[in-house]
């Protein structure tokens, strides 16, 4: 079964990335976690993302294109990265989600991946 783990971080989490006082702890925790996930041999793919303020939102409404900089307002947690993992069941997926560093401050969403459409 393939599950997507979506690592959602708070603004404070993102801020730790560049603060010299916290960066080492922040990246240390992620390196350890990402290393463990890869070494378990379950990764289908995955990536970390730049912070949400670097995002661009694109919408089409009534034929008009709307483009906005920055994250969607009113959201406290933003996607900081993701993995798609291949594990036997939801139990293992939850165990890996619980280990993610952001779980303590933000949240990690676990979703079953839809199989690709038949060719």
């Amino acid at each position: 079964m393939q599950y997507m783990l979506m690592f959602k971080e708070t603004a404070a989490d993102f801020a730790q990335r560049d603060n010299p006082e916290t960066a080492q702890t922040y990246w240390g925790a992620w390196n350890a976690y990402v290393g463990a996930v890869y070494q378990a041999g379950i990764v289908v793919n995955g990536a970390g993302l730049h912070p949400a303020h670097s995002a661009t939102q694109v919408r089409l409404r009534e034929g008009k294109r709307q483009i906005h900089d920055g994250p969607y307002a009113d959201t406290k947690e933003h996607l900081g990265g993701y993995f798609i993992i291949e594990v036997p069941s939801l139990d293992e997926a939850i165990a890996w989600a619980a280990r993610s560093p952001n779980a303590a401050t933000g949240s990690t969403e676990v979703r079953l991946v839809l199989p690709p459409p038949a060719q």
Binding site: G28, A29, I94, P101
Partner: protein, 413 residues
């Protein structure tokens, strides 16, 4: 008044739930129906007692209501109920203080070999202790819906396979009781011991588990292993206040300030363990308790008797090996002067453990550190092992502990 009713119902829920469910399930052969009926009776108590007053014998009141509910539900679903059972339920109305305590029967059913091992513990917590799925699931790292499904499936199996509620005879009892004890210890672990399974503890579950083991000791006084498990849990509990420092940081066993340990509890457990050893029915829980007893000797002698501990692990792992005890045994070997042999023991374990067993990596890092002995030769390997352990840890306080170990191994350049 209403607060009084609330507390009377809570008291009944806490102290009588398991007893009454056990008795009803025993008579009825259906755990889920017995639980539903009891839950219904508790709800009716909350609704009725404010007006009618708290009955003189609350348990008897609850039992009567629950029984009526069971029979009504059976009629409603046109269940073919054994007429003998119906008569039993309708006629038999024991005074509350004479309801036989059949909770051990219920525990034995919960830990029946026909039921998936992983569900023994939550099933027991739910049916005997009345804990909610929403409390149990997070501690087991399960989705509540998944756990709910598994519990329902297990209870259907008990009903459909007509798993017997009778206490098995003396030839079978010890092995059946062992599953009960394992489930209780697993529950205790979820409450107190974030070290091995890397799970976040749920507060109070250790106390609930201690309540259950006291109960098993009362109901099966001849079981040496039940007493062994009681001692094991008591040693662990006695050291609880030293597990975290004033700032809430995790303190490993060998670094704990043993003046914070509960001396009286340790002495009581030591004495009980010594007495039960005279029965000469050795088992894994008595051995594990002996190991914890040895750790506690530091309180009296100022030293941890590592050679004795390594010896005890050797015996434990020869007869009752488990991944946890094999890893701990390797550490003990290293602590009594032979870190290379300890590392070799770790390497000999199933390689797939490394993918998800945090304790394996903590043990490896620690053994490498002993081997290193300040030379710095193994620094990279120590760092890698701590990093791997950190990536596999869930509990926040343990994460912080490992992160500081990692920083130490980095900083010692």
């Amino acid at each position: 008044m209403s607060a009084q009713v609330q507390s009377a119902v809570e008291h009944a829920a806490r102290h009588s739930f398991g007893r009454l469910v056990a008795w009803l399930a025993w008579k009825w052969g259906d755990v889920a129906a017995a639980e539903d009926a009891m839950a219904d009776a508790l709800a009716k108590a909350l609704a009725n007692w404010p007006a009618s007053g708290i009955p003189q014998d609350p348990d008897a009141w609850l039992l009567t209501v629950a029984k009526r509910q069971l029979l009504q539900a059976a009629r409603h679903h046109k269940l073919a109920v054994d007429p003998a059972v119906t008569i039993l339920l309708e006629k038999e109305q024991p005074a509350a203080n004479q309801i036989p305590d059949t909770r051990l029967n219920l525990m034995l059913v919960c830990a029946h070999p026909a039921i998936d091992e992983r569900i023994h513990m939550p099933l027991m917590l739910q049916t005997v202790m009345g804990l909610e799925v929403s409390q149990i699931a997070p501690a087991m790292l399960l989705a509540p819906s998944t756990l709910m499904q598994r519990l329902v499936r297990a209870k259907a199996k008990i009903r459909d396979h007509k798993i017997r509620f009778e206490v098995p005879d003396i030839s079978e009892l010890p092995s059946r009781l062992q599953s009960v004890l394992e489930a209780i210890y697993a529950a205790f672990g979820l409450g107190i011991d974030a070290m091995d399974g890397a799970d976040t503890p749920i507060s109070g579950l250790d106390t609930e588990a201690l309540f259950l083991i006291e109960l098993v000791r009362q109901l099966a006084p001849d079981s040496a292993e039940a007493t062994g498990l009681w001692a094991l849990m008591t040693f662990n509990k006695a050291r609880q206040s030293a597990r975290f420092d004033a700032l809430g940081r995790f303190v490993a066993l060998q670094d704990q300030d043993c003046r914070l340990w509960n001396r009286a509890a340790i002495l009581a457990a030591d004495q009980t363990l010594w007495l039960v050893a005279q029965k000469r029915q050795l088992g894994p829980f008595q051995l594990e308790a002996a190991i914890q007893s040895a750790h506690c000797q530091r309180l009296f002698t100022g030293k941890t008797p590592w050679a004795a501990i390594a010896q005890l692990y050797e015996t434990l792992n020869r007869h009752y090996p488990s991944v946890g005890s094999l890893v701990a045994g390797a550490v003990a070997t290293g602590e009594c002067g032979n870190p290379s042999a300890g590392l070799a023991q770790l390497d000999a374990l199933d390689h797939s453990l490394r993918h998800s067993f945090q304790a394996w990596w903590v043990a490896r890092a620690h053994l490498l550190w002993i081997l290193d002995n300040g030379s710095g030769l193994n620094r990279t390997e120590i760092r890698l092992a701590y990093e791997k352990a950190l990536g596999l840890t869930i509990d926040l306080r343990l994460k912080a502990h490992l992160a500081s170990k990692l920083a130490q191994s980095n900083g010692a350049v």
